[in-house]
Symmetry: C5
Subunit: 229 residues, 5 copies
């Protein structure tokens, strides 16, 4: 029934189950934290909690699939990315919104850009057009999101906030700048160059999901907790 011997040497199953459990713990902490956060922090906390929960369920399924079939195509990650990336971007928007008015148009543009960022990469991966083009489109929308996070109305709203809020915003933005860079890079290596699903690619994806998902979620939770006093 199992194609893979599940030991430490199988870095893939260790990383997949590890991520499933880690993001479950993060989701639980976010949802529990909702009850003691300041009311205005509830929306961003709920959004990152939902993103962690979805990721946890995705990884639990991916583990089962890996143990049964010995495959863990990065392709299936798209089904989670379609949900997780917009949730994370929306959380950043509402993070800034707790500190001051941010036009609702920014929200729509950001969520749209994050969906198109995933969609472009997926179209390439699924073979609808050239994978390199998909990566380039994806990078374009990612740069747009970064532009809003660096120069738009959101940094303006956060500028005069308390130290933990500014600090949290700075780190989340940094992670989205450096950590998200891994998606086009790994995608390029995996699909365009054609390394395929080497275990090291799978593990790298998993590690960057900690950096890109769990750490920003815990930052939001920590800032929400410190802004309550």
């Amino acid at each position: 029934m199992f194609t893979t011997l599940y030991t430490s040497k199988d870095v893939v199953s260790t990383s997949l189950t590890g991520l499933a459990l880690m993001s479950l713990a993060a989701a639980v902490l976010c949802f529990v934290g909702l009850s003691w956060s300041n009311e205005r922090w509830r929306v961003p906390t709920a959004l990152v909690g939902a993103a962690c929960l979805v990721t946890s369920i995705y990884y639990a399924g991916a583990t089962g699939y890996w143990l049964s079939s010995g495959a863990a195509s990065a392709g299936v990650r798209f089904s989670a990315w379609y949900t997780v990336h917009p949730l994370q971007i929306a959380a950043v928007y509402f993070y800034a919104r707790t500190q001051g008015p941010v036009p609702v148009g920014v929200f729509w543009r950001l969520v749209g850009a994050s969906l198109l960022m995933v969609f472009g990469r997926w179209l390439g991966d699924a073979g609808f057009f050239n994978p390199t083009l998909g990566v380039l489109i994806s990078i374009g929308f990612w740069l747009y999101i970064l532009g809003e996070m660096y120069f738009g109305a959101m940094p303006e709203a956060v500028r005069k906030s308390s130290r933990p809020v500014r600090f949290g915003y700075f780190w989340i933005r940094l992670l989205f700048t450096l950590g998200w860079a891994v998606y086009p890079i790994l995608h390029f290596v995996d699909v365009v160059i054609g390394v395929g699903q080497a275990p090291s690619i799978i593990v790298l994806y998993s590690v960057f999901d900690i950096v890109n998902l769990i750490i920003p979620s815990l930052i939001v939770l920590a800032v929400a907790g410190q802004d309550r006093y």
Copy 2:
């Protein structure tokens, strides 16, 4: 054990798992949102949350079935539609009800019409009578529901509400007008013309479940959040 290779190229599994995760996130946000919405918004929020949760579980099951058997008959969607469509229609009724009195008879007629709308299509699909007849019956009840949403007591109740409430009602109604049109159309193509369960049909159904289920649910949640200040 698996009949399908689960990669990006398999658009069906990507769309099924994607929908399962996306509607789970929507359900979680609705239920979390219950705690901070104004009290009178709790019933519509709970109804759309339940609709999203049911859809999520349905899609999780459909993914497993697809991976095991390579089939994802639209027929099985009926088991979810019997629950989801009445829940959504009831949510619209209670949405209007938050703004003013709407006769309880409207509620019964709407829920009855939504059940019969599904039942008619199902009778055709299951072969109890001519599929075309089933589609026509289904369209009839759908038009009745639209009539109530455009000309009945519900638009009357909403007319003098605050801008976000009117705006939300307008968009939900538009989605039920344009988005629900896809059910008889796809059903006609699938069953009456006899295209069968082509992957593109399955993906179209999934995409329209985002438009028809997740977006209206998030609209209800957003309006409930804005009406609290």
Copy 3:
């Protein structure tokens, strides 16, 4: 792995999964409703919510069993009935109790009668004695329950209540009178006459579980909601 093709034409799987999702939605609404009901309505609402949840899990298991083995013996329904019927009867007792004192002896007699009603039918179905005798014993206890609901201390307590409370009690009693009649009848047809598990029997059981479980639960929820103003 699957003995049944899961399409609309397989009315059994459609009805089993449909019921699983429908009773899950009802359970979710009951539990969410707990937070906004008047305090004295919490016990009946929690009881019907638990009954819906148990039914949902039962039907989810029955679906899996049906898809794997092509069998859905009414026999297995007993495992749910042993829990669901006493919960429903207890909910009726606490429903009446919200309106005035009802002797606690009524509670014990009702719960005992509901357990014995299931037990008698089960003894017949499992072959411990003649199935006809089991049906007759079951009918006897059912009539006793109806007697308490029509002439005992419970209608007395409800008599002077507000209109929605009396109305709800009337409808629940009617459903228990007409809807529960189906259990001995179907059981007689299935076991005594020996039709066996024809799909139509399974579907009829499922349909009557909507009538007998989900509708009374939603009535309790609706009455609890209206009694709060």
Copy 4:
């Protein structure tokens, strides 16, 4: 895939699934009841709720194992007993504690005795020493627990309480006296005499889990509910 035909005639599967659903319902009611009980009743209610939940999950797993393998060794029950018996004994301690001071040493001795009671029986069942010796050790610790419940600081604390509290304590103690007697007796019949896992043994275990687990849990819940006025 299934070794057993799942009908009423298979008393084992009916009793296992029945217990899984019944203890789930009890757990749900306990957890829902937490929100309306008096604050000091929360600890015992949470403990019996956790005991019911654990039992429910155990029985769900045991059903799956029975359907797949046709075996339901009483041995596997130990994995649940190690958790459930200490939880129940701790609930009795905190039950008495709501009424007055009980030395914390009683708590440690009771929990220790309940763990050793299970451990002794398990060592015999697993063949580490003579099964008869295991049963005798188990009886010794059980008698110690009964001694604390009849003559120790707990009955002292409860003595001057309100009638429902005394009544509940009396019944729980009686169930632990008569109902728990079944564990060494059945274990003796099953392991020492060597009847093996006859279906009747499995069903008797299941029935006594209703008597020993679900009824005391509901007593705690009912007393907690009545003590709030």
Copy 5:
């Protein structure tokens, strides 16, 4: 389908399922306890609750894997340890933090050390470098954590607290000193000496997870409960 007969004699399955149920009960009690603890105790209680929940899910999966494949490599425990150990260490930090200011740098160093402690052992177990080296690295980080717990800012913060708080801190520290010693020792026996996955190793790991996880979690819960009066 099953490679192992699941009876008391199979100490592995008994211990795995037993731990799954026991840590589930602990998690449930922690989360329920959140609602009645003093507000400042919520963070440590939520952290140990999340640690118990993650462990429970890990053990449930490990049971299934054991029953299917007859293997329960300690290697797979790493996927849980990566989450559980940092959560526990963070809980200790926030435990001390409830009693007075502890520099946030201590938190980062402790969480980092706990991650590196697991990572070092894992690198050895997965064969990236010599297993003995992994054990030594792991012991180094563990000693650092103990140093912070004995001589750092945390014992300083706890020193003048109420008796239960000091008592709880003393016991948790003692368990982390004695109980965590088992991880390098067992790992040494298992991987370096090469005993392999003997059932006794698996059972010892499981027993020490009770000592190291469930007991400290219940201590946190108990202290949080006593600090509320």
